[in-house]
Assembly symmetry: C2
């Protein structure tokens, strides 16, 4: 039992045990070249003194911290949190600690201080998990902030010379809209996310392409922009419905907005999916319990995080052992369609 006052050092353990600090170090690190007798004695003293080795002193000398830096934003939303969850569990499994920085805003482009702060803490690698918005990626190719450690980018448009792990939003959008087309819908509107978001543009582009390929003419007034929130979707859908009254289905760029659409439709006595079919994106936990349950694109943000961790660590280990590996890898995960009631062409029997 140690006193709750100060950190005990390897030196104190050494002198209490009557050995050198070196021997204590060997015991702590489980090296084989210590006699059993010594080992046991030292271990006992370590316990008695409540000695806990200093990881940062070790980092300093080994030039290796077994720590990963993570820069994120918008943790109050479930998407970024699920990704962080994946990062945290993979890091834990790999024996790495996590140093977390959250940007105050998604748009923040004063990123240099964040990067420097992480580097100052000797992180072995960095995962940049802030979504790509507007020009907040302009700095990526700025060599002046080049760090001697790997940086892995999440949820970003793949780029030359940069490691990226991403979800294929374009493909996801295609699958969603193709599903609606297959169900027989021909007047398919779109509520997009904010169009300065790369992900929103990808999903919208897919919507356009699939319809065009199906021989359906896409016009500007078939689409309205939301801001990802349920509240934004209510006026957005109202506007869309007014300017596109033939609309019989809508691809909504995330589930929160789909919820807003659902509420509005309910108020206007529009039946889902008989009068208007809905497909969302994300597959949040609540989607299965909307009224009616929401068809949506499931994206595995948890896995996005775990893959990211595995990739940085792969690069770190490779650098460590001097192996040259291809610098910039790009990994893309594809979302999957989860079909629920909100998008199903009803059979005659279903119409009461």
């Amino acid at each position: 039992m140690q006193a709750n006052t100060k950190r005990s050092t390897i030196k104190e353990v050494a002198s209490a045990a009557g050995v050198s600090t070196q021997t204590v170090s060997r015991v702590v690190n489980g090296r084989p070249d210590v006699s059993d007798e010594t080992r046991v004695r030292v271990q006992q003293i370590i316990k008695d003194l409540g000695y806990r080795p200093s990881a940062i002193a070790r980092s300093l000398i080994q030039q290796r911290s077994f720590t990963l830096g993570v820069v994120t934003a918008g943790l109050k939303y479930i998407g970024p949190s699920r990704t962080l969850n994946g990062i945290a569990s993979a890091a834990e499994a790999a024996g790495y600690s996590l140093l977390l920085k959250e940007l105050a805003h998604f748009h923040a482009n004063d990123v240099i201080p964040q990067l420097n702060a992480l580097y100052a803490m000797h992180v072995d690698g960095i995962i940049w998990a802030v979504p790509e918005i507007g020009d907040n990626r302009a700095w990526v190719n700025d060599l002046s902030i080049d760090l001697p450690i790997p940086i892995l980018y999440l949820a970003m448009e793949p780029r030359e010379g940069v490691s990226v792990v991403s979800i294929n939003n374009y493909q996801g959008g295609r699958i969603a809209v193709e599903h609606l087309v297959e169900q027989g819908y021909r007047h398919i509107g779109h509520i997009s996310g904010p169009l300065d978001w790369w992900e929103a543009r990808q999903r919208m582009a897919a919507w356009k392409d699939v319809l065009t390929e199906a021989g359906i003419v896409v016009q500007d007034h078939h689409q309205v922009e939301g801001n990802w929130s349920s509240s934004s979707a209510v006026p957005a859908f109202e506007k869309l419905y007014n300017q596109y009254p033939e609309m019989d289905a809508v691809f909504v760029s995330n589930d929160q907005m789909a919820l807003g659409v659902t509420q509005f439709a309910c108020q206007k006595a529009l039946r889902i999916p008989q009068d208007i079919a809905i497909v969302g994106f994300d597959d949040i936990a609540e989607a299965a319990y909307f009224t009616p349950p929401l068809t949506t694109m499931h994206q595995d943000q948890h896995e996005l995080g775990t893959v990211a961790v595995q990739e940085v660590i792969k690069i770190i280990e490779a650098n460590q052992s001097g192996i040259e590996i291809e610098e910039s890898q790009t990994i893309v995960l594809t979302p999957t369609l989860v079909i629920r009631e909100s998008s199903l062409r009803q059979k005659e029997v279903d119409r009461k």
Copy 2:
């Protein structure tokens, strides 16, 4: 522009500038006792070499890291994420970094390694943000893991000799149920969270107490246990409804479960709130867009996090300047009622 290869040191800067490392240190730390000429020259060289001071070397010598350890669990749920969000923004504002550990399970009680890992990284304080479940707090009073740094506990039953920042779940439960009683409901059921959770027990106790005080007899079959998820609420509510058919209102221990209840009610053609009123707990972003919009207890988990950070830092700074402060403070935040349609006694006019 430095080469993307290795960390440059204070020594390199010093010799390149023709000064001592001491002088470089003074420049880096903005000390006044350097001539302007020297300062400018050194700053230029720092830039040229891409020198970034090592925070861990500094931590080692100053015995102070300006880093907080955070232990959390369940980041895939929105509650813990919102708290982490609050922690992160407050830490950023105070100039502290965050070292994050996520427990694989809520129940994990092998906490010593987590604590030790954080301490090994020289964190200045720890925020324990894992909910209190079963006996996963048994270790709190175990002196053998006493650390020489402050630990602040979140969302835990207040205890002697321990600093706690918590949300008053009992009070929140009372407010929720009192609202239903005021609306005129007399047959109020309860779907609780898992009863090994302290928070679930608190809310349930409040439900019992308020009804009893109102002269309403509470019986065992008026309550059913869920597991916080929407899916658990469907069979839970079905069972509750069968065994308590007079029930005209239900206090559900979180919003996800309230959503499950909503869906089931809708399928059974039970109208909300005419046939069954619902009050939830949490005020998740989606709650305002349920059909009908959900009355719920808003708990400010973001603030829970910011307050926690401010408290640990207060203790840290006090210890630092040798001031003795009362060791164990308890701060309790109270949730607020957000009234929406799901709980309103309808006027005649509202009934079509």
